[in-house]
């Protein structure tokens, strides 16, 4: 049995009268790629927002279990605490720091893993200097891994769309998470680029040992890389299972996939 990293029990989120997420259970284990799919407006992004502390969920239990450590119940935690605990995310609508350079975007991801304070910044003692150097080093290597090193000193806003998506992933990885949440990473990419993304995600899982939970509408990608799939509709979980099972599930086909993929 693999170790669990994230355990969500009957998570519920209401917006006024609208129940966007309704008693959803979901878990992610070590070394897994789990996908969350479902029709538009099913509540997937909202689910992400709840478990990363951007919204305070109306009900439910969320725990993260850092590998080899005790579970932490993170309901009501501020986003930065959750990131510190080891869960990082990207956004459906890209949210980079547009007027910072690409490298700085990644360096910001290091914020919660570094410690130098104001006085350190002013005096720039040996500790701070070392830390800065390490930050630059780490960030640069990360950019290399993501194939972004040639943009290092560009402003983030001037990058092509696909590169921006990859930069968001790099920034999230800079926080050294054990679980990475990706919200529609392939949106706006053409089939060729999606293929590259496919390789990248697999590489992150295999080489960095980071588990992944992703939301995606590109079924080719999802079916290719995920170990397990959860399907949501109208806030509720309607199915879960391996890609094969999901592909055949009539409920999912009717609500989401349509005939084409099946055919």
């Amino acid at each position: 049995m693999m170790e669990r990293l994230l355990d969500v029990k009957s998570l519920t989120m209401d917006f006024g009268g609208l129940r966007a997420v309704d008693q959803v259970n979901l878990d992610v284990c070590q070394g897994e790629i789990v996908a969350l799919i479902g029709p538009n407006g099913a509540g997937k992004t909202t689910f992400f927002n709840c478990i990363t502390g951007i919204y305070a969920p109306s009900d439910g239990e969320i725990s993260v279990i850092p590998p080899g450590k005790k579970p932490i119940r993170i309901n009501g935690f501020k986003p930065h605490k959750i990131t510190q605990a080891g869960m990082a995310r990207t956004f459906q609508n890209i949210r980079l720091f547009p007027n910072m350079t690409v490298l700085e975007n990644v360096m910001l991801g290091r914020h919660c893993r570094t410690t130098s304070k104001i006085l350190g910044a002013i005096l720039r003692g040996s500790h701070t200097r070392r830390e800065e150097e390490e930050t630059v080093d780490f960030s640069y290597h990360l950019l290399e891994k993501m194939g972004l090193e040639k943009y290092a000193n560009e402003f983030a806003k001037n990058l092509p769309y696909g590169a921006q998506r990859r930069l968001e992933i790099a920034r999230a990885m800079a926080t050294e998470p054990f679980l990475l949440l990706l919200d529609e990473p392939a949106a706006g990419m053409n089939p060729q680029e999606t293929k590259e993304l496919d390789d990248l995600i697999t590489k992150i899982k295999n080489e960095e040992g980071i588990s992944i939970l992703l939301i995606e509408h590109d079924m080719k990608l999802v079916m290719n890389i995920s170990d397990r799939i959860f399907v949501m509709e109208y806030g509720r979980e309607i199915a879960k299972g391996t890609p094969l099972e999901i592909r055949e599930n009539p409920k999912v086909i009717e609500a989401y996939l349509g005939e084409e993929v099946h055919a």
Binding site: T45, N49, I54, F91, Q92, N93, R95
Partner: protein, 330 residues
């Protein structure tokens, strides 16, 4: 020395009667005080509101704290004063003067608002958010000194143009017709503006422009025209404010806009900036707070109370009383 009609007198008379009546009198008396403070506060509030409405409109569309809005109000008042003086020489009646002076004030304030937008804000459409703010501060300083130099630094008496209604005479120590007139105008202007923004096509175009200018262009909105129009409407309400307030207070100088402007801006934020009813509600609350702070606590600190209230309300309602906290979708 004519001694005033003392409240004590009533209490004294009450002593001759029974205790319960004393109590009754006391309550009446306190209520009377409360009521008068409340009415005073509402009047003051509606004065703020007339200026706050323009603030909120302009903010609503280009997210600019238009610091020069108070000056537009001041220019409206000056235009009205000049017009009224000339009309007065022609021997026109009071109502005619009021109407004509108001119209001229509206025309000129709008013209100033329009020109100001073209010169100081329009070239800054694509600039960082704070640049037009500084431009607005510059405009405010410019207009103050323009009027100071072209007219005078002194206070000038402003004729009381507002009509007095006969039937209100008996209650005149509580409320007078100018105050009713101001309250009434405020409400009417608010309703008109709300209808304009909420329900008309132009209003929808204004909101669309405010939220996404480029997309508004893409659905065919003439963004420049809409923004100019907003300035014209905002300036017109300021002009109406200028005429009413000046004739209520009875004096103007080049600096009145600045003081009133800051208060009106505070009121607009208190109510939720960008919201038309919010501007009025915020203004009324601000006016009443000041009035009660003076009446029950200490007038030295009336502004401290006003700003303190602002801080308190914003802590609990970060987008003002009627403002919608636009929860950003992530």
């Amino acid at each position: 020395m004519t001694s005033s009609f003392f409240a004590e007198k009533e209490i004294y008379n009450g002593l001759l009667l029974s205790r319960t009546i004393i109590l009754q009198e006391l309550i009446n008396f306190l209520m009377d005080y409360f009521l008068e403070l409340l009415l005073g506060g509402l009047t003051k509030g509606s004065i703020y509101a007339l200026i706050a409405l323009g603030y909120t409109m302009v903010y609503g569309i280009i997210e600019l704290i238009n610091f020069a809005h108070g000056e537009i109000y001041m220019i409206g008042a000056f235009t009205a004063l000049i017009a009224a003086s000339i009309l007065n020489m022609l021997g026109l009646g009071q109502i005619t003067i009021l109407i004509l002076a108001s119209i001229l004030a509206i025309i000129y304030s709008s013209a100033y608002g329009f020109t100001m937008e073209k010169i100081a804000y329009k070239p800054l459409r694509h600039s960082p958010r704070l640049s037009p703010l500084i431009s607005a501060i510059g405009m405010s300083i410019f207009f103050q000194n323009y009027v100071l130099l072209a007219q005078t630094s002194d206070f000038l008496p402003f004729p009381s143009l507002l009509p007095e209604f006969e039937f209100l005479q008996p209650y005149r120590h509580i409320i007078r017709s100018p105050e009713i007139f101001i309250l009434f105008t405020t409400v009417v202007v608010m309703v008109l503006l709300t209808v304009l923004i909420k329900f008309t096509k132009v209003g929808k175009a204004m909101r669309a422009t405010a939220q996404d200018r480029k997309m508004a262009m893409l659905v065919g909105v003439d963004v420049n025209k809409i923004i100019s129009m907003t300035f014209v409407i905002g300036s017109s309400t300021a002009a109406i404010g200028g005429v009413l307030i000046a004739s209520f207070i009875g004096q103007i100088n080049f600096y009145i806009g600045f003081i009133a402007g800051i208060k009106a801006f505070t009121a607009a934020v208190l109510g939720g900036i960008g919201s038309i009813p919010g501007a009025v509600v915020g203004s009324l609350i601000l006016g009443c707070t000041e009035s009660f702070a003076t009446g029950y606590v200490l007038s030295d600190y009336e502004d401290v109370f006003a700003f303190g209230l602002l801080v308190l309300i914003l802590i609990f309602r970060p987008a003002g009383i009627l403002g919608k906290s636009s929860s950003e979708k992530v």
